[in-house]
Symmetry: D2
Subunit: 473 residues, 4 copies
């Protein structure tokens, strides 16, 4: 997949009760860097004083030894963010920290609220002044405006007003709170290290710091972690169907992570095996689009018996600020990331494994470079169904119009990309590969059927644009 299109994924981390809280959070964010490269931040508390450091860029760019050292305290939360360009500024970096009459509160958020505008308008009418266009700020104001007496009740009250997808870590002066929306769109896990509790979007963050996985935060759970230990509560008493994002398995999460309790790489291998069963192919070689197609390609190769070879090589030094210096070199942005290994593909019939197709333009460019490298036949197998509809729960797919699968038949897509054959994994095949029952998943992007609708109906949803409009009327 062209990862250019996946923008609102974020990484969330938290730790309570460790003397190296900031350092471990730094490492946790490092492991979650693939979930967001726009900005990073850490907020810590020593029980009284709260400190923060945030910046634009990679975790390794935002923090240095001095800053980590200054983030004292044994409580910390952290965040890595990737968002659309328009809102790419330091004001929207997280965690979002404020000081209220009841003390400091900070939030790190992964997901997307569907009632953001309504809630924001309501709070502004009550006098609230917003600094950013982030969902997470709405959560904070909802808490601050709660009329409940007890601080925990205020948090619960504020959170209960949120609708949509949110996996959050909140920090208060003497604890952290892990929250996951009632449908559980985004992952959030609980771990333990040296007696301290840890939360993270993915378990690969636990591995890096040698923390032990305990369990997932439950959908609808609000978990208070203080020096009195864990106290679990429910956002609401109502039972709701789960809506785990299936795309976390297909593309988002790191292959070494276990999410929703199961390993990502093995799930992808099963997708590759199902794909080989559903859409076999007469080819000399299986070629992965590295690295996102690698797991499924191993599965396809094993199931089909067609040998896997390294037909494309990834350049590891793609800076985030690559300039496009030569307009006349076709497919440069694709070519600079992936280069075919000519001597491998020349004269060969190859089957290329992609994790997904969004607009089709990136796939088209990649196939062209393989053709130029001399491949005799090129077949593509995609390890999920065609994307036909946007996501309102935290993934920034393009609009429906731009999703090639929404308006083109498979045959049309094949021609557009320039393939000898093309097949997608069916939804049923996808379910077979999944480690959990199919009714646990959100597959809205493949079906166009949504479990909870955004406030203004179906359409490209963007808080920033809406706000600009709203303020003028």
């Amino acid at each position: 997949m062209a990862n250019d299109y996946l923008k609102d994924k974020c990484g969330v981390f938290g730790i309570f009760g460790h003397k190296d809280a900031a350092r471990l959070t730094y490492l946790g964010l490092y492991a979650l860097q693939h979930r967001g490269q726009e900005s990073a931040g850490i907020v810590t508390s020593d029980g009284r004083l709260v400190r923060e450091h945030k910046g634009m860029g990679l975790v390794s760019e935002v923090f240095n030894e001095e800053e980590i050292s200054s983030l004292t305290g044994n409580i910390a939360i952290g965040h890595t963010r990737y968002s659309t360009t328009g809102s790419s500024n330091i004001k929207n970096a997280q965690p979002f920290l404020v000081e209220t009459l009841a003390g400091h509160i900070a939030v790190a958020h992964n997901g997307n609220l569907v009632n953001a505008l309504t809630l924001r308008r309501k709070l502004e009418k009550e006098g609230a002044i917003f600094q950013s266009s982030m969902d997470s700020e709405i959560a904070i104001h909802a808490i601050a405006h709660s009329k409940k007496k007890d601080f925990k009740e205020r948090i619960k009250d504020g959170i209960s007003q949120l609708e949509g997808a949110f996996s959050m870590a909140l920090l208060v002066e003497d604890g952290i709170i892990a929250v996951r929306d009632k449908r559980g769109f985004r992952p959030l896990s609980l771990g333990k290290l040296d007696g301290a509790y840890v939360i993270a979007s993915e378990t690969c963050a636990f591995d890096l710091i040698h923390a032990e996985f305990i369990r997932d935060i439950e959908p609808g759970e609000i978990l208070f972690i203080t020096d009195k230990g864990l106290k679990s509560d429910r956002i609401s008493d109502k039972k709701t169907r789960c809506s785990f994002c299936v795309f976390e398995y297909i593309y988002f999460s790191r292959p070494d992570s276990s999410i929703y309790g199961h390993n990502v790489h093995l799930t992808r291998k099963r997708q590759g095996r199902e794909l080989a069963k559903e859409a076999p192919c007469k080819a000399d070689l299986v070629i992965a689009i590295p690295d996102s197609g690698s797991s499924a390609a191993i599965g396809y190769s094993e199931q089909s018996g067609i040998p896997l070879d390294m037909g494309m090589v990834r350049n590891h030094y793609i800076g985030r600020t690559f300039i496009q210096p030569a307009q006349h070199i076709r497919d440069l942005s694709v070519r600079v990331k992936l280069n075919p290994v000519k001597d491998v593909v020349k004269g060969k019939k190859i089957v290329v494994i992609e994790d997904s197709i969004v607009r089709g333009t990136t796939s088209k460019a990649r196939i062209r470079t393989l053709r130029e490298a001399g491949a005799k036949e090129i077949h593509m197998r995609v390890s999920c169904p065609p994307h036909i509809s946007p996501c309102y729960y935290g993934i920034d797919f393009p609009t429906k119009e731009e999703l090639i699968g929404s308006s083109h038949t498979v045959e049309e897509v094949r021609r557009f990309i320039g393939l000898d054959s093309l097949a997608y994994l069916s939804l049923e095949g996808l379910y077979k590969a999944m480690p959990l029952p199919k009714n646990k998943f959100c597959v809205s992007c493949f079906t166009g059927k949504y479990h909870v609708l955004p406030e203004h109906g179906i359409g490209k949803f963007n808080l920033e644009n809406q706000l600009s409009f709203l303020n003028k009327i």
Copy 2:
């Protein structure tokens, strides 16, 4: 291999006669980034005016659109450098540009001279003032001090005084010159694009800009590229045995490059096949150390029939400035780069394919993380013989004492790393895998036998240290 130990590799690029000379050089350096990440630079000429831009860091950090635009002219050379920490400063960034009475001259150099000190001392006695501790500056002074009348003769005269390993691109105001030492230690290729000539350390740079490979620069060749076309000459008339660096195939070059005329990935796959023949293993899975072991692992898997799986995942966001934030987390620097996929290796007998072992400490740490992930048996197969001796021709291996293979038996190394079994590819096996006759290669690091000795005998060779000493006596 722990690539921390391979430091003096450099990438060289040059282009003559293209209106986008600087932009294409920028791209060429991008493709050669793996050969050096310390500094980067480009020098251009429009036939009269010469411009340069150099900086510390990755190509993408050193250049932006403004700088590329300011590098006008249709002649350019570029360089990426990786060197030892001591000399890591902008003064040692290349290309090295000076203005002489005869005009500007710049040099970009890959390799290591073995008579640097003697030559520098001779030139200093004649009044030369050196700005840096780089070999390449010596070449420039040797040219400037030549008594020959003709400029081309002066260049040839200066270059002919150099001994050791050097693949160079020189820029003068109206042309570029490609030079390769008579033994041809380091690669250097000639290509063509839109009528312009291109030279590059590896052919992957040609692929990125759509240039066509023509031939390698010959060992001992000095090739003048001007608007009169190509004019090839010999540094010296004497015939010498070739000494192509075998380690370019084993580790250095990109798998998608062809060096010495043959693809790197396919050579590595053959190494893996030979290794499987020489050192078979009863195992459930073949696991590559990504990405340097991947090609050989495919070969080993194909030959042995043992399935290949993704047992370790590489973190793509390792910044160059990663701080070591948690001393107490064992193996952190290894773990942050590679994480085992627990569910793949747990309970399995695995055979791990490494490209080489230098000190053994990195391998030891990696094996420990695989043990902790639950691997039942761990066997290691290394796709080259043990390193027993340093390199004087451009690779900064550690000293003989630090090379574990020089002082430990294979059994001792196995115990040190903590393996169930360990085997290296034999030198004969390595030769079998190579695409060229064995008498074409330099294998000094495996044998301790050198084709040309450095001036002060065998020992850790370091121009900087020597200079400090020399100036005091």
Copy 3:
């Protein structure tokens, strides 16, 4: 005076209806740079879109051509700030801009509220979340929480809750509002340029842009400037005695400014004349402490007939980040700014004119350097009375305990500083020099009598410290 102790002075500027609004604001801030060097900022509006740029440092460091160009619109306000170190961060830079349901509003504030804490606590109880520890943010929240229907009424309602010293420029999407507290502690003037209205803390800002001075904003006035012209209103109907800060004449304002309608330099010259009458001195030379004592020294010289000479030279290149590189050089920080001209003072009886004495330590160091330069006798005359009490209206004097005049007799101060004689201008003498009747001025710092008390009684007042405390109880 040691200007290190005068920290909360700020410069305020605004312009409505000029196509070069941002550029003229940049220049206005340039002219007001002496009122604050910590941070600078500009907010503009084109009637619909609001833009801002703020940064730490001097106006010339914060803005470049690109930023000025991007600040489009014909409405602008700007601010330069100097504050205590603790709160020296970008969050406290002004203008403070927020987006409310009714549109954007920004504020630039000079002065100090005396009911900041009470008001902030009240607003926080209503759910307000504060981003900074600035007084000006309180004003904004007070406006946002107002229950009035009309926007102008809401502004007036919010402002009317503020107590203490405030001269403010507010920007809304279609206008600017100039406000001055009912006692008029800080200056604020109205001017005109090419048909556009301009407001500024001092008239020197008008001079630079060739604007014409019209009148001062009245104490208690709230002036709405929109495309309908000027609309003047009163914050409150109650009449109050004026409290113009006398220290603006003595030290703060630029000598070329006219404040409260009269030129500063001429006022200071009159102070020097009064001082010469009250405290004559037998001396060879009058020496000014440059540049703050220069005007009074001219007056003293003229009145006394003692020639004025350049006894000390000011170094114009004192960077804001001067490091103290040599602990053992006595009086270095004084000496680096001012150097005596030995050949002028050697063997001479001199009378040194200071504008004021705060702690006495800086004066002591200066006198010592003059002694070392060979002065035979050193007499000091100070052009205002002794400071005995802190300021709650916008000047960050040290605490009462640190004000040497509060605890020491003139004779004790003379001995501490090391003078042959010392005399201050009397309060009556000061009044005589002033261009306005004495009942127009605030002279609390000389008398300890305050026209309006801060909420927690007399004492060192600091919102930041108070907030930290408040949040814990």
Copy 4:
């Protein structure tokens, strides 16, 4: 004077034998900052190891505590530089440090060589490779190419080839060398501090660090300062007439410095007195152009009896990067630096004291602002004769054509500037004010008669331009 036109002045500092050598050099450069604001640098030696730090900008911007601390050793030299824009880059920052066979050598240079090109060409023919277009590099190469055996003899031999103006501090690993050309164009003084020897362009640098002035370095003297003490030698045995730059007294040096043994401020006051005698004026007030005209204005006021007042105020916060944000504001660049005090000059007959007139444009703008402020009559008195010819000895005056005094009569200049009357101090009057006999001075810029001609005859001399040309033929 418009100090924009005075560009090649530099500040030189050196210290031998003090444990705080770098810190004291930092302070010395601080005091000499007025002699150059383009770049600054320090080189230190601890007897064996040599360290350097250089950067673009003010001393306070180039150095921080960390860098000062890293400059270990008790020997140091430093430099501040101001040069023409064309060569404004870090390569031309000084001190210029190289490593030769005989050890490190660094040079800090104030002045201008007149045989730079000839000497450079000669050295290049011998194989020398130059890094910069600085005169000082030529000195270093001349030393390196000397055939003398003894190091001191080589230095003397190299220096003796230089012609023109040079006051230099050289650093070698175990000492510093102070050199002044045989005519002594530029000042250089020797001082002592805590047993350590100090050299500086002006004595104000001694004052700041509490060093004691000993004597000036003699014209033609080469003074070796090592742990054996002072060893004075002569560059050449020939006796030459002195050519002290008279403009150091008129404008360059700080008023608190003593140069050529006498205080600058008092000399300028005498110029003012002579001016009052030669060119009296019926006026109400004497007004100085601050700060360069201040000393002469005091002298003029004292002699004439006309009171001095502050008619213009200088803005102390002119950043070095002031952008010109408003083309339509006439005289903005003048106005932003100096603002008239309207209430002082309105309706008054004033006599304005300028230190010199170069192009006349700046004076014209200043006079216009005084007219607009309401001055009734404006008379200008200039404290030196008209400039009619360029300087080849270190001051970057504009070309003869641009010097208004070279082509216009006094009456024409008066009309151009817009004055009621104009008079210059005569050359004889200038001599009378000087503290040394008239045959000690270089007054070429007033007479067009030169004591030593540049190699290519009279004309605008510029090494950079010449080099570009030279390399093409």
